[in-house]
Symmetry: C2
Subunit: 305 residues, 2 copies
C-alpha cells in the first residue's frame, strides 16, 4: 500500500477516493478537502471573524487545527453541558489545545449560567439527551456569535454526521428539516448567525486519523448520554452500506446538496418573530430554548434563576 | 403465538403491524390491505377494465387472485422475455393459473414478435439485463393496454420493490424518477396508460406467504439474470434495517408518498412527443424502446425484422 502522491509507505486508505496516503499527504489531503469546501461554498471570507463550536472531540479540534493552518482567524466556544467527568475532561482537552496554540477559547457553563445541565433538561422535558443538548447548543452558540459580533459560526459536523442526519430526515421525510440541511445556512434578519460546516467532505474516521496523526489530544470517549441514539444507529447502517459500496455516503449527501436540497428550501422558510422571553428568533411566542429552560428549572425547583 | 382476530394458532407474524394471524385471517388481512390501497388511491373504478402485468411469480399471481376475489374484472398480460427455462416455466405457471380460474391471459413473445430476447438486448445495448427488461416491459405492457382499450394497467410491485427503488433513487437523488414514483400514474395525452400498484402496502414475504397459503403454484426461482442486481442489494440492506426497526420500510415509502412526492412532481413532467418510429410517447425523437430494438437487431444481424 503506497501513498498516491509520493509512493512512500501509506498509513491511511480512503476507499471512496480509491487512494492511499502517507502521513504527510493524508494530512495535506484532509486540509485540501476542507479548503475546497470553504471555497466552493464561500463559507468564510477574507478577514471574517469566525467562531468555532468546540466540544473537545476529534472533529472540532481537527477542524480548528486545519482552519488555523489555512490562515483563518478562528476563536472557539465551548459549552459546558454538565455531563460529569465527560464534560470536565472535554473542557480540559479544549483548553489545552487552545492554550498550546495561543487561540482564544470562550467557555459557557450551562449549569452555572443557565441553572441546569443537559441530563436535567432531558429528564424534565422528556426529550432525549441528544435533543436537549442539540437545542441548547444551537441556541447558546448562536447567541455568543451574535453578541460578540462574529461574522460566521463554524461547526465541526463531518460527512458521517451529515449523512446520518440526512438519512434520518429522509426515512421520516421531515421536509422542513430537509430544507435546512445545507453546508451553509445564511444569517437571518431575526438574529440567526451565518452557520457553516467545513468538514462535510471529511469522513469521521478521517477526522479521527487526522487528529491522531497530527498529535492532537482529544476526548476519545463518546458522550455517555449518546450511546445507542438514533443518529449513531443510522451511522452504523450507513457504514455497512459504505463497506459494500465505497462512496455511497458521499454520493447520497452531495447529491442531496446539488440536486434536491433546493426543492425543499421553500419548506424551511418559516416566519420568524422575537421570543417574548429572550428576544431571540422563534416561530412561536416563546422560543424552544426558553421553554426547555423554564420546564427544567420548574422541575428541579430552581425557577428563581 | 395467536391470531389477532380469532385467537387460534397463528401461522404468520407481521411485525410492522405488531400482529400475528392464522391462515384465514392472514389471507383476509392481505386482501384488506389491497382493498384499502385501491380505495385510498382510487386505483380501479367500478366497471374499469384492468390489465395486469403477469410474470408467473408470487406477486402478480397473488395480486390477480386478490383482485378477482375483490370483484374486479382483470385480464393478464405475460411478456415472454426469452430467458430460457425461466421464461418457459413462468409462462406455464401463468397459463395454468389463468386456465384454472377461467381468466384471460394475453401473451406477447418478445423474441417472436420483436426479434430479440432480453439477454440479447442487454448484451447489445450494454444495459444491465434488468434495465433492458424493465424498459421492454414498460413499453410493451403499455402498448397492449392502449391498443386493447384497457382503462388501467395494474402492476404487482410490492412494498419491498417500491421501497428499494425509492431508496436507489434517493441515494442518487434521481429527482426525475422521484417525481414519477407514485402508486398511481395517471394516463397522459401522449398515450401512456393509467398505471397502478395495488400491492404497495404488502411486503414481499407477505405476498409469498399469501401465494403459498392459498395454494397458488408460482415460479419460485428468481430470474437468473437478476441475481446481485442493485435493487436486490438495496432490498437486502433495507431488510436488515427492518429487522432492527420493524416498520421503517413502510414509514420510508408512505412518508414519501404523503410528504415528499409532490415536491418532485414538477421534475417529472417532461414535454412528450411522438416517437418517429413507432408513434409512442417519448421526450426525444425516437423512443428508448425503438432505440434498444434497433441497436439489438443490428448487433445480432437481424435488422430485417
Amino acid at each position: 500500500m503506497k501513498c498516491r502522491v509520493c509512493r512512500e509507505r501509506a498509513v491511511m486508505q480512503v476507499r471512496r477516493h480509491n487512494a492511499n496516503f502517507c502521513k504527510t499527504h493524508f494530512l495535506e489531503h484532509v486540509r485540501r478537502q476542507v479548503e475546497r469546501t470553504i471555497h466552493d461554498h464561500k463559507m468564510i471570507g477574507p478577514g471574517d471573524r469566525a467562531l468555532l463550536g468546540v466540544s473537545g472531540g476529534k472533529d472540532s479540534l481537527a477542524l480548528w487545527d486545519i482552519l488555523t493552518d489555512l490562515g483563518h482567524r478562528v476563536d472557539g466556544v465551548y459549552l459546558h453541558l454538565g455531563i460529569g467527568e465527560y464534560s470536565s475532561d472535554s473542557l480540559r482537552f479544549s483548553r489545552e489545545f487552545a492554550d498550546a496554540r495561543g487561540l482564544e477559547l470562550r467557555v459557557v457553563d450551562l449549569p452555572a449560567e443557565y441553572g441546569f445541565s443537559v441530563p436535567e433538561a432531558a429528564l424534565a422535558s422528556k426529550r432525549t439527551p441528544c435533543s436537549a443538548c442539540g437545542l441548547s447548543k444551537r441556541y447558546i452558540l448562536n447567541q455568543v456569535a451574535e453578541a460578540a459580533g462574529y461574522d460566521v459560526l463554524v461547526m465541526g459536523h463531518n460527512l458521517d454526521d451529515e449523512a446520518a442526519t440526512l438519512f434520518g430526515n429522509v426515512v421520516q421525510w421531515n421536509t422542513d428539516y430537509l430544507g435546512r440541511q445545507r453546508p451553509v445556512l445564511p444569517a437571518t434578519d431575526g438574529g440567526l448567525a451565518r452557520k457553516v460546516k467545513p468538514l462535510v467532505r471529511v469522513a469521521e474516521r478521517e477526522t479521527a486519523a487526522y487528529a491522531v496523526l497530527s498529535g492532537i489530544e482529544y476526548e476519545v470517549e463518546e458522550c455517555p448520554m449518546a450511546s445507542g441514539n438514533t443518529v449513531n444507529r443510522y451511522k452504523e447502517w450507513l457504514n455497512r452500506l459504505e463497506d459494500e459500496s465505497p462512496g455511497i455516503k458521499a454520493q447520497f449527501l452531495f447529491g442531496f446538496y446539488d440536486k434536491a436540497a433546493a426543492t425543499f428550501e421553500a419548506n424551511a422558510a418559516p416566519v420568524l418573530r422575537e421570543c417574548t422571553v429572550c428576544g431571540g428568533s422563534t416561530t412561536g411566542e416563546v422560543c424552544a430554548f426558553c421553554r426547555l429552560k423554564n420546564t427544567t428549572l420548574v422541575r428541579i425547583g430552581r425557577s428563581d434563576v
